[in-house]
């Protein structure tokens, strides 16, 4: 089954007149015998809020890691605002922000110190880093916990803190890996609003998720990755083709097996 915007037409999504913020060509990565990413092509327009969805193990995290210069690809090219991530890492890294899936921060810094550290690492003067830190803490609803150690933060607070660290230098492109996983609805709403506002200002967001409702709500562009390949890409409407995104996703990546008959012992009527 193929939905509108399926892989054979890649890359095709170029909304508006803006140049592409992210261009990925033939990105590949193999771990041992397993081909984690099998040559993906992707094009994300500037100002877009794009989602990268796929089942577990599809290659989302590996792809994002390679796009952000944290994992060396076996082949392919990644351009961020025209800058090659692997040819010119300093320039490319300077304009991106990254929130990894497994958010681990400097636990023994307070929230305020962490934000300032992130800002100063990015070359901001200390005063500017402190000023931005205070504003971000406020917007992210962390001001009351600014002087608590990150070690004592909850999962949602950590995700928000990681987002603050990724935003403090005002990146042009923001990459987030499962930004709302394990986050309570209130924190999720704060993150969602901030991302929408960030993208509305002309910056670009690319995030991975397997929460289809979230992608449907906030994204204008979605790519579906399965077994290391992009199997569909386009606007939300193009990809879902009149169905819900959840349905379109399942139709594309499919149930893995129809072996219900084999599990005849499963259920309360059997032993």
């Amino acid at each position: 089954m193929e939905t509108p915007g399926a892989a054979s037409e890649l890359p095709r999504y170029q909304p508006g007149a803006g140049a592409s913020a992210v261009v990925v060509r033939g990105l590949r990565k193999t771990f041992g015998n397993k081909e984690a990413v099998a040559g993906i092509d992707l094009q994300i327009a500037a100002g877009s809020l794009a989602g990268l969805v796929g089942p577990n193990g599809a290659g989302k995290t590996t792809s994002l890691s390679m796009m952000t210069g944290l994992l060396r690809p076996d082949g392919g090219q990644v351009l961020i605002k025209g800058l090659d991530v692997w040819e010119n890492p300093p320039a490319a890294k300077a304009i991106i922000g990254v929130v990894p899936a497994d958010v681990r921060l400097f636990e023994r810094l307070s929230g305020e110190e962490l934000f300032e550290y992130a800002g100063r690492l990015r070359g901001l003067p200390a005063d500017e880093a402190r000023s931005r830190s205070a504003q971000l803490l406020d917007v992210l609803d962390l001001a009351g916990d600014a002087q608590r150690l990150v070690a004592d933060y909850s999962t949602g607070m950590r995700k928000k803190a990681a987002l603050g660290c990724a935003l403090i230098h005002n990146p042009s492109v923001l990459f987030l890996d499962e930004p709302l996983e394990g986050v309570d609805p209130v924190s999720a709403d704060v993150i969602r609003r901030l991302l929408t506002r960030f993208a509305a200002s002309g910056s670009t967001v690319l995030f991975s998720s397997h929460v289809m409702e979230l992608v449907e709500q906030v994204c204008d562009h979605v790519s579906i990755i399965d077994k290391g390949k992009i199997v569909a890409t386009g606007t939300i409407d193009e990809v879902r083709g009149g169905k819900t995104l959840q349905r379109a996703f399942i139709d594309l990546v499919g149930p893995r097996a129809t072996d219900e008959e084999v599990l005849s012992w499963l259920g309360s009527s059997s032993s």
Binding site: R72, K93, R108, L109, L121
Partner: protein
């Protein structure tokens, strides 16, 4: 169930062997050391045959092994890759099944086998007659079981001791007296023995109190059986088995509690100052500021500094005590102290773990990496230099030769520069993922990477000694000179030499790291240090 657990343990060991080249090398190194331990222990125990103090010496060795099992899991090298009980928490296993299975799994592997084989040296050194040999074999098995049960019980209890973050931070410091004792046994005792201050006769009468400890019970059971007294021998073995049963029960109890008790987050821990220090020093200042705060707030960092102090003191403590003392060995203390400042902070990406990714996004150019390494080195130098020098002066004062402190200071400064430079180089050249074990703040190499850790430790230690040699030579040549020369010339020369070495290390490491950031990120991501 025990059989299943043993099969699982064997499967895990085989899979680790198949997983990577690093794992294979590590397995070979670990197995080689296990074989050496087995052969060495067997020969030492066998050599006690015919000695009047053989039972006392055997009891001492049994006790040292028990102490080793207590210390080893929280020290650098992993000798017991016991199955993680938390992975078994969801299965409907009865406590007895869990205990038996885990104990059987703990008994499986090269190191437990090396312990059994090595301790079987008692069948030659202490046992005589069929009954004596039979009891010796049983006693050795019980002794190893005791070691395993003791080790498991203590590490699990430490983990369950305090469950809040602050509690864990405080519990972390329990390691310091344990390491001090370890250093005493490994550094002080062998040296004193080499100097002839400890002989076989020194152990006469040890059994007056040691015979009632579990290792002593095992040794004396063999002696009793060999002397034709099966009753007392069986009674001692029974007592030892009872101790093992009690330890096992306590272990399983604390294990059961630990598996169903959540960690509680400490509320209200607030920092006093909201601002990072060193704001006017760019990236170098930012890295140094974060690192400085970590030296104060991170229990592992505080423990590392305490260990540097213990090691620096222990290296020469034995040589300055007693009549035939050699206070010049304080120079070795200076080298070891400096080297361990580097050793404990090498593999920076692995030690930092996943948060390194935040730093990595800002580290792209060679100059960024220079700032990164030098920022950390400045902090280590600010703490390490006065610490090591002060301890050397303290040791010199204790030896009644304060002048030796003046000689040790330039060696410490030169050595510290060398150690920091080497530490930076090994951080880039030999990175490996780290893992945190339950009950200890000390990070160890992730499974399959012990060889890397061994390589970087020995490389830093030997390299520091070699690079500090010119300072030592200069100090020895200046011994006859006036104090003013030693203080006014050697001290600044040592400091400048150390600075130059550290600077060279920073520059070389930064140049090498600039193309390896993704690899360092993967090492950091693979580290489970939280």
């Amino acid at each position: 169930m025990a059989r299943l657990f043993v099969q699982l343990k064997l499967r895990l060991l085989l899979n680790a062997l198949r997983s990577s080249r690093a794992a294979k090398i590590s397995f070979i190194i670990s197995t080689t050391f296990a074989v050496l331990l087995a052969v060495g222990t067997f020969l030492v125990l066998a050599s006690f045959r015919g000695k009047s103090t053989s039972v006392d010496l055997t009891a001492v060795i049994f006790t040292v092994f028990a102490f080793g099992w207590l210390i080893a899991p929280i020290m650098v090298f992993t000798v017991d890759s016991t199955l993680d009980p938390s992975t078994l928490a969801l299965y409907p296993l009865r406590t007895r099944q869990l205990a038996t299975g885990l104990l059987a799994a703990s008994f499986t592997g090269a190191w437990p086998a090396a312990n059994v084989i090595g301790l079987l040296g008692v069948t030659v050194g202490l046992a005589s007659g069929a009954l004596g040999v039979t009891v010796a074999v049983i006693a050795v098995i019980l002794q190893v079981l005791f070691c395993i049960a003791l080790s498991r019980f203590v590490t699990t209890s430490l983990a369950g001791l305090l469950r809040s973050r602050r509690g864990k931070d405080l519990a972390a410091f329990l390691i310091i007296p344990l390491v001090a004792l370890y250093e005493f046994f490994t550094q002080v005792v062998p040296k004193v023995a080499t100097e002839g201050k400890i002989t076989a006769a020194s152990f006469t009468g040890f059994d007056a109190w040691m015979r009632w400890l579990p290792p002593g019970l095992a040794a004396h059971a063999i002696q009793d059986a060999s002397d034709g007294r099966p009753g007392p021998a069986l009674a001692r073995l029974g007592a030892l088995a009872a101790v093992i049963a009690v330890l096992g029960w306590l272990w399983v109890r604390s294990l059961s509690r630990a598996l169903v008790t959540t960690d509680t987050t400490t509320q209200g821990a607030r920092v006093r100052s909201a601002k990072l220090p060193l704001s006017g020093f760019g990236l170098r200042g930012a890295v140094a500021a974060r690192f400085w705060l970590y030296q104060r707030r991170d229990p592992a960092s505080l423990v590392y500094w305490a260990l540097v102090a213990v090691i620096t003191a222990a290296v020469s403590a034995s040589s300055i005590i007693g009549q035939n003392h050699h206070p010049q060995v304080i120079l070795a203390s200076a080298i070891f102290g400096a080297a361990f400042v580097g050793i404990f902070h090498t593999n920076s990406a692995g030690l930092t773990g996943p948060p390194f990714l935040l730093e990595a996004t800002a580290l792209s150019r060679t100059r960024d990496l220079r700032a990164y390494f030098s920022g950390q080195n400045v902090v280590l130098c600010v703490i390490g230099a006065p610490l090591v020098v002060a301890i050397c002066f303290g040791l010199a004062a204790a030896a009644g030769r304060p002048g030796i402190g003046v000689e040790a200071a330039p060696v410490a400064l030169g050595g510290l520069g060398a150690a920091l430079g080497l530490s930076n180089l090994f951080t880039v050249g030999l990175p490996y993922p780290m893992a945190k074990r339950t009950g200890t703040p000390i990070l160890t190499a992730a499974q399959g990477y012990s060889g890397y850790r061994f390589g970087s430790i020995m490389g830093t230690l030997v390299g520091t000694g070699v690079l500090a040699a010119p300072v030592i030579v200069a100090v020895v040549l200046a011994l006859a000179g006036p104090l003013a020369i030693r203080l006014g010339v050697l001290l600044p020369c040592g400091a400048v030499y150390g600075f130059a070495l550290a600077l060279a290390g920073v520059r070389l490491a930064a140049a090498a790291a600039v193309g390896k950031i993704p690899e360092l990120c993967q090492v950091a991501l693979s580290s489970a240090v939280a």
